[in-house]
Symmetry: C2
Subunit: 272 residues, 2 copies
């Protein structure tokens, strides 16, 4: 059932691009993988360790699929450059609306572009940190534009499914609104929380602290970019959260057990 | 080197008391374990499954150590009842100052009472959920009062160390201030956060969300009690956190990359 591609190009062979390369090979989804990587050390590492078959300066004409695994602010230039390429093109950025808008501000949205977001990742970076199973059972959100062709959408979906990922489709705007809540806000809270923590506190922490703060160890520049790109949605989610937090705090202050326990119980039920 | 006790009494054989029983037996710290448990089903389960050797109505005269593993608001009555017992007495409540104050409001603080807090736990409850390794490498904070005798303190410390736990000593007030930040505030934030989350969001979450929200699955009544018992410290920690959060949000709003990245980087460094 699973689609086989004779050649897939990966632009940016870091943690995500490298993990994609490892998974494509393991699952037999690609016969040949070409890496395009501006960092010479990463390029060499990826080649020597067999993540890619070849390093090239540009995307080969005969690539059937192109994965743009570069930082979000570099995606639109690549999409524009590859607008007339015969391959289906997808990116893996954490925020979709601004990438689509950046392309749209320059050209009509290309038919071959399928914006994607695999909800996965790691606190690490670079091809050395690549994990072959990063996308297994991972949810990948596809956010086709009004111009995305059915063919391109299907090819990209088949690629992800071939890696064991699950597929969901949303509009770019819906995606950014949901992820502001489920991913960006937790990172914002964890970063803010860690500012209060001093080294003297660390011995007096348990598993709850460790799990709650794990995401605060993520890459600061990457997350600052995400907060900037999705600023409006993130600040909206923060406002809604802050209202609930203040309400809960007021119930604690007032010793209003009925309302307070009701709030906590509703939260606990959802989490369980 | 490790101390052996001929008889230890455990009042309240739930998750914590049951785990303590399992660990005491496995590590050979106690020859005999007596359980005092008001819930007949829990008592029977603990006896039939060999967590305790015996169920009794009251603490035996020849117990050398008594572990009060009952809810925090029930601890002071037991401490008062056992004030003249020859055993060293400890509790395992998550908030120390109010327990000490509740005892002190009735009698002089007993020499045999060593307030303790093992920083461990689980979202589960009941003796069926007991884990033999719950205290291995766990930090246990001992918060002796001005009246606690050196003998009682040493006996209790030896018991915990015999179970593979690490020991730290703080005043009850210091403990409550630190734990408000490292444990109670994260729970408060996770409970408030989950109120925003709807079932439609759940498929669009990853490992970060899962870890960040794990503690929101905890027992609501237990946590409401903790928030009430440590209200002043929790609200103080919340105020300090909120100021940092608002400052970070303002930097995002203003696109002040220098200040924003500095804040996030400091948080990430501490977490890493």
């Amino acid at each position: 059932m699973s689609k086989n591609f004779h050649k897939i190009a990966i632009v940016g062979v870091g943690l995500i691009g490298g993990s994609l390369a490892l998974a494509l090979r393991k699952q037999g989804v690609a016969d040949s993988i070409v890496g395009i990587e501006s960092n010479p050390a990463s390029a060499q590492w990826a080649l020597e360790n067999g993540l890619v078959d070849q390093i090239a300066d540009r995307v080969p004409e005969d690539a059937q699929l192109v994965a743009l695994c570069v930082p979000s602010d570099l995606v639109s230039n690549w999409v524009i450059e590859l607008a007339d390429h015969s391959a289906a093109i997808f990116d893996v950025g954490s925020v979709k609306g601004p990438i689509v808008s950046a392309v749209e501000s320059q050209i009509n949205l290309p038919q071959n572009f399928v914006p994607c977001h695999p909800i996965s990742g790691s606190e690490k970076s670079g091809p050395e940190a690549a994990q072959v199973d990063l996308f297994e059972d991972c949810m990948v959100v596809l956010t086709p534009t009004q111009n995305t062709s059915t063919d391109a959408l299907n090819l990209v979906a088949q690629c992800w499914q071939g890696l064991g990922a699950k597929i969901s489709k949303l509009s770019p705007q819906e995606h950014d609104s949901v992820l502001a809540l489920t991913s960006h806000l937790p990172h914002l809270l964890a970063f803010a929380f860690m500012q209060q923590v001093e080294s003297k506190h660390l011995p007096l922490t348990g598993g709850g602290f460790r799990d709650f703060t794990r995401i605060a160890g993520a890459n600061p520049e990457l997350w600052w970019r995400i907060f900037q790109l999705n600023k409006d949605e993130v600040l909206t989610a923060l406002d809604a959260f802050s209202a609930d937090l203040q309400s809960l705090a007021q119930n604690i202050r007032d010793a209003d057990s009925e309302s307070g326990i009701a709030q906590i119980s509703a939260a606990a039920r959802k989490r369980q």
